[in-house]
Symmetry: none
């Protein structure tokens, strides 16, 4: 049962219909993420500052923090080995990444929760944490 809601914009004017989807670019993201690190649930005043800084609507900023908190929580659940194990189960794919259980890593140089890549050339080598991968894959 969808109801057309009245949306109050920053300038005080009101408009019918939904707020158009905002695209948060990399620059905005940097500012927001930075703020999030030190204060994941900022009060109105801080949000106002962020809003002015980025040019984003205060409501947009608020929703972003809400979603970011939700995502972080979701992510923590994902890191739970049970979830991870479930994703890998039976060689099912995760975001197109197929798991090959027959070829498990047997070395000890790779720490827990880490991914290592060994390419043909040294500059191709890579070491990232599982959390980062999940962030990327999520």
């Amino acid at each position: 049962m969808n109801v057309l809601s009245i949306v109050y914009f920053q300038d005080g004017s009101e408009s019918g219909g939904k707020r158009p989807r905002t695209t948060i670019n990399a620059e905005h993201l940097e500012t927001l993420k930075d703020a999030y690190k030190t204060w994941p649930a900022p009060k109105r005043q801080v949000r106002r500052q962020l809003s002015a800084e980025t040019g984003l609507d205060m409501r947009v900023v608020q929703v972003w923090f809400q979603n970011c908190r939700a995502k972080e929580k979701r992510l923590k659940k994902n890191v739970d080995r049970h979830h991870w194990g479930r994703l890998c189960k039976d060689g099912r794919s995760l975001c197109g990444v197929k798991v090959d259980k027959e070829r498990l890593a047997e070395d000890d140089s790779v720490g827990d929760g880490e991914l290592s890549f060994k390419g043909e050339h040294p500059e191709d080598h890579l070491h990232i944490s599982l959390t980062e991968v999940l962030l990327c894959l999520s």
Copy 2:
């Protein structure tokens, strides 16, 4: 609930029918391929720029990139190390994944072009190919 969308053609006319096949000439191709080299999956803003630059409809540009990626993938059998190297170059981040060149994998059990994950428990272990990761990250 799908709704038949109105398609706006290049000449400005609109119709619910099919879009006539666009002929992408050599000049367009050069621009697009050039852009593709540095960024195979451009965002809306870039596509808009390309669209304005060539005179092609934004949708046409988007489809071209989609088809181009599909073609590249179709043709690519083995991993192109240059592509990988370019992505990791200078420790830049890709999709939020930071590359730590200081922590290269030194074991030999991980084959070329492969990623290994070693978790706390055996069932958490994972082995995926670089191609799959690239596909996922692309």
